[in-house]
Symmetry: C2
Subunit: 358 residues, 2 copies
Amino acid sequence: MARRATAIKPVRLADVAKAAGVSHGTASNVFSHPEIVREEVRERVKAAADALGYAGPDPKGRLLRAGKVNAIGVATAEPLSYFFDDPFARVVMSGISEICDATGAGLSLVSAINGEHLAWNIQSALVDGFIVFCVEGNWQPVYLTRERKLPFVVLDFGYDEGALSAIGIDNKAGARLAADHLLAFGHRRFGVLALNFDEGSSGPMTALRAEGATYSGTRDRLYGYLETLAEAGIDAAGVPIYETGNDVPTVHASLDYMFSLPEPPTALLAMSDRIAMIAIDWLKERGMSVPGDVSIVGFDGVPEAAWCKPPLTTIAQPMREMGRRAAHAILDPGQAERRQEMPIELVVRESAGPVSAR
Amino acid sequence: MARRATAIKPVRLADVAKAAGVSHGTASNVFSHPEIVREEVRERVKAAADALGYAGPDPKGRLLRAGKVNAIGVATAEPLSYFFDDPFARVVMSGISEICDATGAGLSLVSAINGEHLAWNIQSALVDGFIVFCVEGNWQPVYLTRERKLPFVVLDFGYDEGALSAIGIDNKAGARLAADHLLAFGHRRFGVLALNFDEGSSGPMTALRAEGATYSGTRDRLYGYLETLAEAGIDAAGVPIYETGNDVPTVHASLDYMFSLPEPPTALLAMSDRIAMIAIDWLKERGMSVPGDVSIVGFDGVPEAAWCKPPLTTIAQPMREMGRRAAHAILDPGQAERRQEMPIELVVRESAGPVSAR
DNA sequence: AAAAAATTTTGGATCGATTCAAATCCTCAT
DNA sequence: ATGAGGATTTGAATCGATCCAAAATTTTTT
């Protein structure tokens, strides 16, 4: 019956010290600085530890004294599975992982859709800093994270307020690249498949309404497209724009709309690879060939874009490098610049080509 | 110059208490049990906190007292990116995430290829328990994890020693399902594309050598195949078996070997979907149709298997459910059974069909 | 107005380790 | 044998909070 006691309380370093007949200071050294303890004592303490079933110094205790957790937190207001499912997130996480592997830092995922949970999780995360994924213009995790007064980087700009450090791309320049590419093939009739400008909205829209967009990334991309077209002498006001939700139903709706117009587009500017890929499927199902009948350029440079048929021409963000930079920024803050604008790149594959002879 | 001091040391709860003129006990309550503090005092403390720039109770401190971290650790001896790249891992992680989301638990990834780093990371991970991915029969993380004396579950059996809790499948039964399916189509000439039996080995092999296999999962699958074929009256000893490394070069080598045999197989038993998919590409490139000329059944039930062409018939493990179970086992240990054998399932798609008329 | 009950606040103990200055123990040369 | 000097060991202080029994205060009841 006395045996029950052993299971009741975990063994502490102090217990080991007592059992071995040394001070707790020495016992501590046996585990953390074994070289300064005399061998005989070291063995004795280790033996005592074994006998008692000591699990080694509890990191909880060590942590308080050490101050540093040695882990990076990655926060976002999505379900945790976002990190394993979303193609963009996955590549960025790979980049972060690379740095963590190299430096031996841990990786803690902090996330929740529920606002209260999210707040609690961010407040109580044991990390040295945060990398915040701002999905769909939801700034809540940014606010919460900032409260912790730990180093943090926001992925994606669009949150211009204050001088918080962020890593992002020049959305407008990316959009220009896409439009230029299509223009070079001789296209004159365009359609824009946009991402959300505001929380949850969708449907046909005008450049005017984009003025007040909540999501500045979306707005910048649109302006990039439109300005480039206008400079090529195209009536930008006449270009159909449809706000989608980056999901199948709204993208389908947008295509139904565009292709029932009197003059349907021959070139589609998609604000995400996802949209572009959904559009390609829709077009193929309706017997239109890509790029034979309709050309399309995506945005993001997600890996899947290379496998789809036809392989998608797109504007690639250096996602992996962004992850690396973000991790570095947390690991040695101060070193990193406040705002890092990453280069985007036009990746030419097969979804865009010359306007078809008619 | 006096201002410098503010940045030098982070504000502690005790500082706030002093500034607000209350005891540290009360200050603590303001943050953790606000309802038991008189409103006027509460406001005063909060004001003091704001004025000092207090970031809220430091979780490091709270942790020690609370004892529970409220986070699950997931460990494996792979680079961290394994969690974001590997299809099997990703689905399992999704399952784990689901439970974490539901219970508000955090998720810490603990991993390293370097043995020393791995040991340190596991020893110092701030988690309430571990889910261990045993990849390729590398038990090191199991040993390390066990030392922590925290709840832990191993994914994948094959580690029979001791009564540690594990979640896995009946590999042999799964293999039988695959062989039966092919047999039912009338196939009599088989080839086995195996996974590693031992660390790093590869090449043609015999059932005999499998006896001493390090990786029992691989061995069990092989026995499942062979026994089923033997029961159907096929000379199991004559079935070519090739040990691959689950990568392109070794799978290609295995196919070169099989299809240069005097009687090449019409049915391939692949021990992983990855192998099967690589094989399909190889066959198609050589003008053989699947399943017209050669039928193939995979193993695992990875999502990609559904998208490939032709869609792969495979033995599916309930990966997501395994993740869920594992998370539950950590979150309330004791509840969970020691050893959970999950059902496997034959998922019939299009990569296996009747033996071709010749 | 006093007593009883309820509400707040206090401050010491605790969580489990690490750190470091001071104390002690050895070894070796003189 | 003695003292110097190096190698070990000790134990109090600390990290930043939470908990809780007891004290203080306020409110309610008689």
